[in-house]
């Protein structure tokens, strides 16, 4: 590949060709998958992005876009013969409109930086992936990122209004608008979660929501996982949509309690955390109702946080689940399936059976409100064969999610990690439809090749190749 021409398009220092400078970029947060990018480019204007894509298009060079590289599914893993297009320099908030409650931002702006910038207007950006301190909004759009408040506030797709994107031909196109509806097909929805396969996003207009005046967390303990699962359904049946509804099993509670001392009851089989927000009256009435309801569903103990500090403490435990897993085992592998809530107990029991079968411990943390589970498989990469068993265990969990009417990924994306399981979730006809959609944007297949949607050949050979997990590349980031 001839990348040196790119230095004519970009200023000095924005094209990395030497091996040592490219080495830093060889993986995203799924660090077991490493590929040296053919070349790394760091443009800082939309015109430069257009020129790069246009050049790559005419010379058949693959392009992988990347924001902060905090993705957990290997979606921004480089291509060895391609260009790794880093959008981190696009870190400006272009415009904040408090009346319209929107912010127009560049793709490299960090998720949390948006909320920080609009705080003085009493507003915030709702989706809150656990990596929000570091992950960029462009990456959030590419993955349709979620967080712990999705049930009430939605995913990225529900919280953006307009995208500016550059096609592989280098054309700048605006999709969506600052109005509620836009003309034509809902390309905004199609682009969200498309994992960098269709276009490169160069600007995002996000919706902002008013910060609720009051919020509180409640903690409930159960002596039986099934009771906890039923209680989750009970809350929903009561017509309550909590801001957050989280569940953790015994293994999780113990690991966390040893680590952060959040005061979790370590003899419980499962705990629930339920956050309500709104006006103070509304929240207090709601908490009262939830407390009674959980007791009726068999909670052995219900604790309502008495102040913001106690709410934060309850959350601190949940948010420490991943690092706590890292303390009890040398390595852990995080899964991301979603299931109908009613099957929570059954799936947990299935995961426990698999845990025995593969002789590997597992800690279960759930975004229970929306059925999104993050089992953390504990293993030690230094023990021969253990990583392989972990991968097989993980794959079986995803199959279980599909069997239960769920999906292989709720918020982390397919990337390279779950590409084989896509063959189970979708039929050949469905995969062909995906490829046809891809071709409508990128006929030559240059954008993020080999990710998100497997080829039919790959599915036919499924099993021959195995993917595996790795250590957390961003140990400083909270993951929950």
């Amino acid at each position: 590949m001839n990348f040196s021409k790119l230095t004519e398009i970009l200023p000095a220092g924005a094209v990395l060709l030497s091996e040592e400078s490219r080495r830093v970029y060889e993986c995203d947060a799924l660090s077991a998958h490493r590929v040296m990018p053919g070349c790394v480019v760091l443009p800082d204007t939309v015109e430069q992005v257009q020129a790069i894509l246009s050049y790559c298009h005419s010379h058949d060079i693959p392009v992988v876009a990347r924001g902060a590289g905090t993705g957990l599914s290997g979606g921004a893993m480089p291509h060895e013969e391609g260009v790794l297009l880093i959008l981190a320099k696009f870190n400006k908030i272009i415009e904040i409109d408090p009346e319209q409650r929107t912010a127009r931002v560049q793709p490299g702006v960090r998720n949390l930086a948006i909320s920080d910038a609009v705080k003085s207007h009493g507003l915030y950006y709702a989706p809150d992936p656990s990596s929000q301190i570091a992950c960029t909004i462009g990456g959030n759009v590419a993955e349709n990122s979620g967080g712990v408040h999705c049930l009430k506030y939605g995913l990225t797709v529900h919280n953006i209004m307009q995208l500016k994107l550059v096609t592989i031909e280098g054309e700048l196109i605006t999709v969506g608008s600052h109005a509620f509806d836009s003309a034509g097909y809902d390309l905004l929805a199609l682009l969200t979660g498309s994992e960098g396969m269709l276009a490169v996003i160069v600007e995002v207009t996000v919706k902002l929501v008013p910060k609720p005046p009051f919020s509180r967390v409640l903690l409930a303990a159960f002596d039986d996982v099934e009771k906890a699962g039923n209680a989750v359904a009970g809350v929903i049946a009561e017509g309550i949509i909590p801001a957050g509804l989280e569940m953790m099993d015994k293994g999780g509670v113990r690991a966390v309690e040893d680590f952060v001392h959040a005061g979790y009851p370590t003899d419980a089989e499962a705990i629930l955390l339920c956050e309500l927000d709104g006006t103070q009256d509304e929240v207090e009435t709601g908490l009262n109702a939830v407390e009674q309801l959980l007791t009726r569903f068999g909670a052995t103990e219900v604790r309502v946080a008495q102040n913001d500090a106690e709410s934060d403490l309850f959350w601190a435990g949940r948010k420490a689940a991943f690092p706590a897993a890292g303390r009890v085992a040398p390595d852990y592998y995080c899964m991301d399936g979603t299931i109908p809530r009613k099957h929570i107990a059954q799936v947990l029991s299935g995961i426990n059976d698999l845990s025995k079968k593969y002789k590997l411990d597992v800690i279960n943390v759930f975004h229970a409100g929306d059925g999104n589970l993050h089992p953390l498989i504990l293993y030690d990469i230094a023990i021969p064969g253990e990583l392989k068993r972990t991968e097989a265990f993980g794959s079986d969990i995803l199959k279980l999610c599909i069997e239960m009417g769920g999906t292989i990924t709720g918020e982390h994306g397919v990337g390279i990690e779950k590409i084989n399981e896509m063959c189970i979730q979708f039929s050949d006809d469905e995969l062909e439809q995906f490829h046809a959609v891809k071709a409508a944007f990128d006929k030559k297949g240059l954008l993020n090749p080999g990710k998100a949607v497997p080829t039919l050949n790959r599915c036919a050979e499924f099993g021959a190749m195995h993917v595996h997990a790795g250590k957390d590349k961003f140990p400083e980031l909270e993951r929950y």
Partner: protein
């Protein structure tokens, strides 16, 4: 119902062979929308029935020919609703038509649009292939989001068979306040109220008065209504139902009825046209005899888009014309789903 699917597939195969487009018809209550289209009718209303509904999972799955009233009745029994407030044009309105047109009601700015609640779609593409995208769970990022893409695509990308939608609890309490105001003051008030923490679920200006609906906890709603300081409207349900179902007087005009979706703070050159403003200032309904070109231009200047909602000339474009780049993506997508161009061709745009 497998036989019905087989019949649809046969009809599709026949259409491809004969090169004769199909016109997908559900309850036929929205036939006045979109461009004039020709073709053999593909009847969907007999493909009906709720397939599964689990109130605690917050979803309902129904066949596309299921009437909206059947779905609403089913949900109401369990204290739930479709939060995007779909228009019930008449008793035969189907859920398939609701999703295909993507039209949401007065609640939309505060609770979200049709596509925000679409979880999954089972459909047949233009090649006769039966496909399922998305599912019944709240979070699902496996594969491209083709079920949301098909929402509002006017049947040009596929024949929708089954739809899964997220459902929400019916608010505990609602009340509507109103006040006579100038358009300017009403718009300012709508903006001011929506940036606060008041539980608004609808706000519109009918040319004379501002109407604000509040929904939620009874105590909070009552306190908020006092804070707003407007008069309480009796018969509020009727008022909002008429607006939602296009029965208000603005829709009964000899002139064309235009629908303009614009940014909240934009200035729309309404001129002498009679006008109703919904969605807190984001949706303008106009009675106008101005040319399509003039209206499209006005919408574009305001940063939004227009649609000829009711009008005589449906040979021309009725939706805001797309930029060249967007149109080319639309053609590419149409070709990806329906390469023979047999599904509602020309219904949205002449060349899609």
């Amino acid at each position: 119902m497998q036989e019905k699917i087989k019949i649809i597939q046969d009809q599709l195969a026949n259409a491809i062979e004969q090169r004769e487009p199909l016109k997908i018809v559900g309850g036929d209550s929205k036939a006045f929308l979109g461009r004039n289209s020709t073709g053999t009718s593909l009847e969907m209303s007999s493909y009906s029935g709720v397939i599964s509904y689990e109130p605690t999972e917050l979803y309902i799955t129904a066949r596309s020919g299921t009437t909206l009233s059947e779905i609403n009745n089913t949900l109401t029994e369990h204290g739930q609703m479709l939060a995007f407030d779909p228009p019930q044009i008449n008793a035969s309105t189907t859920i398939g038509g609701v999703v295909a047109t993507g039209l949401s009601g007065p609640r939309r700015p505060y609770t979200g649009s049709v596509r925000d609640y679409v979880l999954g779609i089972h459909c047949i593409n233009g090649l006769g292939k039966e496909l399922t995208f998305g599912g019944q769970v709240m979070k699902n990022v496996a594969g491209y989001d083709l079920s949301r893409l098909m929402t509002g695509a006017y049947g040009t990308l596929g024949v929708i068979l089954d739809i899964s939608l997220k459902v929400m609890p019916i608010p505990e309490f609602e009340m509507t306040c109103h006040q006579l105001l100038s358009a300017e003051k009403a718009l300012a008030k709508m903006l001011e109220l929506s940036t606060g923490n008041i539980p608004i679920s609808a706000s519109c200006y009918d040319g004379e008065a501002l109407f604000i609906r509040l929904s939620g906890d009874e105590k909070v709603v009552k306190t908020s209504s006092e804070a707003i300081g407007m008069d309480v409207l009796e018969q509020a349900q009727l008022f909002w139902d008429e607006l939602r179902d296009y029965k208000s007087s603005i829709f009964n005009s000899d002139n064309n009825v235009w629908r303009l979706s614009v940014p909240l703070t934009s200035v729309v050159a309404v001129a002498d046209d009679s006008c109703l403003i919904d969605w807190g200032g984001g949706l303008y309904w106009l009675n106008s005899d101005r040319s399509a070109e003039e209206i499209f231009n006005m919408a574009s200047v305001a940063g939004g888009s227009a649609m000829l909602f009711k009008g005589s000339d449906r040979q021309q474009e009725v939706f805001q014309p797309l930029t060249d780049g967007l149109l080319s993506l639309h053609k590419g997508l149409k070709n990806a789903f329906d390469p023979h161009g047999i599904l509602n061709p020309g219904k949205m745009y002449a060349t899609v």
